[in-house]
C-alpha cells in the first residue's frame, strides 16, 4: 500500500529555508480566516432572532406601513385613544399618530443601537485582541485603562460627553461606544488568551502557520461565542442608553422621533390620562431588550461540542 512519494533527503547545504518556495510541496500554507458565525440552536434563540428581524423589517418598511408623517400635527385629531379609526394606537396631544411615531422611532433607536453596538464590538474586539496577542506592556496598559474606565459611573460620563458634544445622532453613537467597549475588550482578551493555551494552537504553530493564520483559524473562532454573546448584550445596552439620553433631552433631538424622546414627550400626557403614550414606546423597548438578551444567552453556548 505504498504510494509514490518523492522525498528529498537534505543535501549538506540544506534546502533553501526561504518562505518564497511555495511551488514545492511542503510550501507555505495559505488561507487566513475561517470564521463560522454561530447560529442559535435553541428555540428561544430562534424566536428572539425572529422577533428582532421582524422589528427591523417593520422599522425599515415604516413609510410603507403608515401614511402619516411622524412630525405632522393635526389639531382635528388630538388625544384620540387606541383603536380609533385611522389611528391604531391613538394620537397624542398634538394630533400626531402614535403608531407612526413608534415605527419611525424604531428606525432611529434600532439604527443607533446597531451602529453604536457594532462600533463598540469592533473596537472592543480589536483592543482585546491586541492585549491578548501583543506585547506584555501593551496588555498591561490596556487592562489598566479598561479597568479604570469600568470603575467610573458610565451614565455620568455619557451625559458629560453628550453635553459637551451637543445632542445629535452622531454624538450619541460616539458617547455609547466610548463608554461601552471595555467589557467587550476584556471578554475578547480572556477568550483569546484561553484559546492560545490550547495544544492545538501549538500544533498549528508546529505546522509552520504564521501568528495571523493561527489567530484566524484557531484563536478567533474559539473566541467568537463569548464575544457574540456580549455583542448581543451591547446592542440592548446601546438602545437603552440612547433611550435614556434622549429621554433626558441629551440624545436624539426631537426633530426625529426615537423611543427615548417619545417617552420625554409622553411625560406631559400622563397627567391628562393618556397612559398609552408611555406604554407603547416602553413596551417596545422592553421587548427589544428581552429579545436581545435571549439571543445573547443562546450565543454564549458554543456551537460545536468540544471534547
Amino acid at each position: 500500500m505504498t504510494t509514490e512519494r518523492t522525498h528529498t533527503t537534505p543535501t549538506p547545504d540544506g534546502p533553501a529555508l526561504d518562505p518564497g518556495a511555495d511551488a514545492r510541496p511542503g510550501g507555505r500554507p495559505r488561507g487566513l480566516l475561517v470564521v463560522r458565525l454561530p447560529r442559535p440552536r435553541r428555540p428561544t434563540g430562534t424566536i428572539a432572532l425572529a422577533v428582532l428581524v421582524g422589528m427591523g423589517a417593520i422599522a425599515v418598511a415604516a413609510p410603507l406601513l403608515t401614511p402619516f408623517d411622524p412630525l405632522a400635527t393635526d389639531t382635528s385629531a388630538t388625544a384620540l385613544p387606541p383603536g380609533s379609526p385611522d389611528h391604531l394606537l391613538g394620537t397624542d396631544l398634538l394630533g400626531r399618530d402614535l403608531l407612526t411615531r413608534l415605527l419611525y422611532g424604531a428606525r432611529t433607536s434600532l439604527l443607533v443601537g446597531l451602529v453604536a453596538a457594532a462600533i463598540t464590538v469592533l473596537a472592543g474586539t480589536v483592543i482585546g485582541a491586541l492585549a491578548a496577542v501583543g506585547p506584555r506592556r501593551l496588555d498591561e496598559a490596556i487592562t489598566r485603562v479598561a479597568d479604570t474606565l469600568l470603575s467610573l459611573p458610565l451614565l455620568v460620563v455619557v451625559l458629560a460627553l453628550s453635553t459637551v458634544a451637543g445632542p445629535s445622532l452622531g454624538s450619541v453613537i460616539v458617547a455609547i461606544a466610548v463608554t461601552s467597549w471595555m467589557p467587550v475588550a476584556l471578554v475578547a482578551r480572556t477568550a483569546l488568551r484561553t484559546q492560545r493555551e490550547r495544544r492545538y494552537v501549538r500544533a498549528a504553530r508546529s505546522l509552520g502557520l504564521s501568528p495571523a493564520q493561527v489567530l484566524g483559524r484557531h484563536l478567533l473562532p474559539g473566541a467568537i461565542p463569548p464575544v457574540a454573546s456580549i455583542a448581543a448584550f451591547e446592542v440592548g445596552h446601546a438602545i437603552l442608553t440612547e433611550s435614556t439620553l434622549s429621554f433626558l433631552g441629551l440624545g436624539i433631538p426631537p426633530n426625529r422621533p426615537s423611543w427615548g424622546n417619545l417617552l420625554t414627550e409622553a411625560q406631559s400626557h400622563l397627567l391628562t390620562g393618556q397612559w398609552y403614550t408611555v406604554a407603547f414606546p416602553a413596551v417596545a423597548i422592553v421587548i427589544t431588550i428581552v429579545a436581545v438578551n435571549a439571543l445573547a444567552a443562546t450565543l454564549a453556548r458554543p456551537e460545536s461540542s468540544a471534547w
Binding site: T9, A203, S206, L207
Partner: protein
C-alpha cells in the same frame, strides 16, 4: 562515515517557571540527529523529555545554546524562515486528542499544513497512514485512540518533513494499538527514508524502533549508545531503566538487585524529580 547531522542541539538550556520557583528542565543538552536514522530519547518523568521536544520542534526558544537545522541556527533566522524550518520537523504530540481543534473534521486537521487544500492530498495522506479516505469528514472525537494517532501522523507528514518527532506515541494505547502505530511508523520510515526521533519513557518501545538510544536524566543527555549495546549500558540512569522494564520471557528478565532491597522503596528524589519534598530538604 556517519551521515551529516540534520538537527543539532548545542548546549541547550531551558529554565521553566516564574520568579518564585524555577526549574532547570534542560541543563546543557548536546545532541545530534543524523539524517535517516531512528533515534530514541529515553528518560523518566521529570527528566526533561517534554521540554526537549518543544526545543527540537523549534517551538520553544532555549534560554542558552543553539538549535541547528541543516547547519543553521533556527532562532537567529527571520520569523518566516523559522516557520519554514518548523515545517521540516513533523510533530506528533503526547496527548493527541487535545492537539486537534475540536471544531474541525479530520480533513481540515490534516490539510492545515498543506499549501493548497485538496481532497486528493488529504486522501493520499489518509491512505498512507492506513485509514480509509471516508474518515475525512469525521470528527476526531468520534475516532478511537489508534485512529487519532494515525490522523496525527498524517498531519505531521503533510508538510513533507525531513524529520518526524513523536512524543510518547504509545502512551494511552493498548498493546495492539501500540503495535499498529509503531508498525506504521516503521513502514513510513522504510518507504521514505524519513528520520525519526521517538521520545518515550518505555525502553521496550525505544529498543524496538530505534537504531540509537540517547538517555536523558536531570536535563542532560547522560548516555548515547546503539540499541544493540543496551545491555552493556554504563550509566546508572540507563541501568535503572533497563532493570525496571519488565520482559515477557523470564530468561530475559534480570531483576536488578536494587528492587529486592528490604524496607521502603520510595521515588528517587533526584534534584529535578517533581514531588513532595519535606521543607527541610529545600535546596
Amino acid at each position: 562515515m556517519t551521515a551529516p547531522a540534520l538537527l543539532t542541539c548545542e548546549q541547550v538550556t531551558r529554565v521553566l517557571g516564574d520568579r518564585r520557583r524555577r526549574t532547570t528542565a534542560l541543563d546543557g543538552v548536546d545532541l545530534d540527529v543524523r539524517a535517516g536514522e531512528s533515534l530514541a530519547l529515553v528518560g523518566r518523568s521529570g527528566s526533561g523529555k517534554s521540554t526537549l521536544v518543544g526545543v527540537l520542534a523549534a517551538l520553544d526558544r532555549p534560554d542558552s545554546g543553539r538549535l541547528l537545522l541543516d547547519g543553521r541556527d533556527v532562532w537567529s533566522l527571520p520569523a518566516a524562515h523559522r516557520r519554514a524550518a518548523r515545517r521540516r520537523v513533523g510533530l506528533i504530540f503526547q496527548d493527541v486528542a487535545s492537539s486537534f481543534d475540536p471544531r474541525y473534521p479530520v480533513e481540515r486537521v490534516i490539510a492545515e499544513g498543506l499549501p493548497e487544500r485538496s481532497a486528493g492530498d488529504v486522501g493520499e495522506l489518509l491512505t498512507e497512514v492506513g485509514l480509509d479516505p471516508t474518515f475525512a469528514p469525521r470528527h476526531p472525537a468520534t475516532l478511537s485512540g489508534g485512529e487519532r494517532q494515525r490522523v496525527a501522523l498524517a498531519r505531521a507528514l503533510s508538510t513533507r518533513p525531513a524529520l518526524l518527532l513523536a512524543d510518547e506515541p504509545t502512551t494511552g494505547l493498548d498493546v495492539l494499538a501500540q503495535h499498529h502505530v509503531l508498525d506504521l511508523v516503521a513502514r513510513v520510515r522504510r518507504d521514505t527514508g524519513l528520520t525519526v526521533v521517538f521520545v518515550t519513557h518505555d525502553l521496550g518501545v525505544a529498543a524496538r524502533m530505534a537504531d540509537r538510544i540517547a538517555v536523558l536524566a536531570d536535563g542532560r543527555i547522560v548516555e548515547q549508545l546503539p540499541t544493540g549495546d543496551l545491555r552493556h549500558a554504563r550509566h546508572g540512569a540507563t541501568r535503572e531503566l533497563l532493570a525496571a522494564t519488565p520482559r515477557l520471557l523470564p530468561s530475559d528478565d534480570t531483576r536488578h538487585p536494587a528492587f529486592r532491597r528490604a524496607g521502603s522503596s520510595c521515588d528517587s528524589a533526584g534534584p529535578h524529580q517533581r514531588g513532595w519534598h519535606s521543607p527541610r530538604e529545600e535546596r
